[in-house]
């Protein structure tokens, strides 16, 4: 198991469990991640552990289920049961855009190189990868596209926005197109 954050290998300080007794035991050692079921059964006890808390959601578990609790979480882990199951992309965008979740958004499960840009663009910023060789492949992945058509959470300038900027520059006889990303970012 390897973890990638900020474009490099990172140490994973989070302890992930589906069991409250484990969570109690692990909490003194660092932040803990629990699944939705454990959270619902032991919410107040978990909060009383005085440890940073993360939540792991399955693909079918919409963020609406925990909308009022989101401020308790420093991390939300979204699971890709298979890399072809794309539900977590919608969960991620809803967490970021609808619910304003500012904590770490971690992709776990079948996390592969060729889906990395999709994940980044949907707001993920932490990637738990099954094997070291997969992590190495992801780190090798260069930024394959300079610009995209859609507005997304990577906040890069979109092709439509660059066109507008180019058009405006042409019209005004100016050069350069700075600040475009900011005007189009969420």
């Amino acid at each position: 198991m390897a973890l990638i954050e900020h474009g490099k290998l990172a140490e994973d300080i989070w302890h992930d469990t589906d069991d409250f007794a484990d969570a109690q035991a692990l909490a003194p050692m660092g932040p803990i991640i629990v699944d939705l079921d454990t959270w619902r059964r032991h919410r107040d006890e978990i909060l009383a552990l005085d440890s940073p808390v993360g939540l792991r959601l399955q693909p079918g578990q919409t963020p609406d289920l925990v909308a009022s609790d989101l401020h308790h979480f420093d991390l939300i882990a979204l699971e890709f049961a298979k890399f072809t199951d794309g539900r977590a992309y919608s969960q991620a965008r809803l967490l970021r855009e609808r619910h304003g979740f500012k904590g770490k958004l971690r992709a776990v499960g079948d996390v592969l190189r060729d889906q990395l840009t999709f994940m980044l663009r949907c707001g993920f910023d932490s990637f738990q990868v099954a094997t070291d060789s997969r992590a190495a492949a992801i780190l090798e992945a260069v930024d394959e596209f300079a610009h995209w058509y859609q507005l997304a959470l990577d906040r890069s300038a979109t092709i439509p926005s660059l066109r507008r900027a180019a058009g405006a520059t042409e019209a005004a006889g100016e050069t350069g197109a700075t600040g475009v990303a900011a005007t189009w970012a969420y």
Partner: protein, 561 residues
Amino acid sequence: MYRYDEFDHAFVAERVEQFRGQVARRVAGELTEDEFKPLRLMNGLYLQLHAYMLRVAIPYGTLSAKQMRKLAHIARTYDRGYGHFTTRQNIQYNWPRLEDVPAILNELASVEMHAIQTSGNCIRNTTADPLAGVAADEIDDPRVYAEIIRQWSTLHPEFSFLPRKFKIAVTGSPNDRAVTRGHDIGLRMHRDLAGNPGFEVMVGGGQGRTPIMAKTIRNFLPVDHLLSYLEAVLRVYNQLGRRDNIYKARIKILVQSEGTDTFAQMVEAEWQAIKDNALDLPKEERDRIKAYFGPPGYDDLAGDCPELNLALDLSLAANPRFAAWVEANVQDHKQPGYAIATISLKPHGGIPGDASADQMDAVAALSEKFSFGEIRVSYKQNLILPDVPKLGLLALWRALDGLDLATANAGRISDIIACPGLDYCNLANARSIPIAQRISERFTDLAREKDIGEISLNISGCINACAHHHVANIGVLGVNKGGTEYYQVTLGGVADENARVGAIIGPAFDEWQIAGAVEDIVDVYLRQRQTNEKFIETYQRVGPQPFKEKLYGTDRARQAS
């Protein structure tokens, strides 16, 4: 036509390089076939029965002469000298080598084409009315919106791993030539009382083993909100569409299980939450794209029309074969003095939708001579020259006749839509091509075809229904029973704005009976029809019984009914 700017060019070039890397990693064994498969599918590359198949997108069915020449070049250089035009306005190459595919994609990129999202569980190539911009009944040009959808849907970060494939079709006309109700989302243009254009949004159409016509979930969506509304539909589907069973994963099943009203409410709630963010394109961007689709430099022929028509009439009178072609293959144009000409890819006994590299080159040259260098691909697997001056029709026909491209059968019984079937496809249960050939050979008499008139006959080699047999007047479905191919017949399907699914007429026929069965069906129609009645009108009036009696005899008809 839309022209790529620097950003489109860069994007497609980057996509080619990305795929080149993916192929290299696959060849080196760094990617498993399971991991590679969704990547190659999103670049249009299938693994078929005998070889890879590359499906190239022809967005909304519009091609320039230059692009057509490139398609010919690819057929000649990397394939076996031909290509197959499909019901989704794409072209398929049946014999490319995996190692050549990055080079082919590079060739395509050089003429502003790609194979992005022609396969896979993502938003597929968007289709549109092949007569966009030239049809007299058009409210607004659907290509503008299809291009906007193409750009928005290209490598969409959220919607590239959907439960299943997702197809969108757009029509700008009340007469639907894009089978919009047969798509996951169908968009049909209307105007509101103030004259503003907007779309009726139909969701959950599809064919396959569960044919369903799309349901309207919104009567009028102002064009300003197109992308946010599409995004809302896709987001609901991406979260709730079934992923446990490939046969129940299309959005039609979700719409059916939730109920149309409930589904519409879910979309509405999602849309209300996102509709006023920066997602939708500003008007100036839409206008920028719209500017590409302005009319070509038509000559003002309005004043010459009486003379033009007279000259055409004289040619028609002097040449019955030309007259037959004009009657079947030429349609009225909205611009006075111009016509729309269909180039049939259905020669009698030929393979529906196939064109040789030489034919493609010749059509490219003819489009430059007669149609402002533009060609359309229709879902009926024919080519269309959209802007032919009426005075050029005779010369065009003569040239086409010399290329075996002047079959006068557009919309007639030998204008058969057929999928590649078991000759190529690894999903197929039965062959389609030889059946289409056998049937069309029975209708080589043009006078008889004209007498039979407007009719649709579609042949699918399996239940995936790529040839749209469910919405054909006469649908033929290949099935396999104990290792033998049989052909099940449905009657009464309709593909236009009144789209409906046909009904099975009775037990299936074997491969040697099916062509005779089609002739029997036609004979019943000819005996039963009233003056000026089309096949479908007669069928709707008399019902299936006379057809059953003819096909199965009175006793068997009772059993089958």
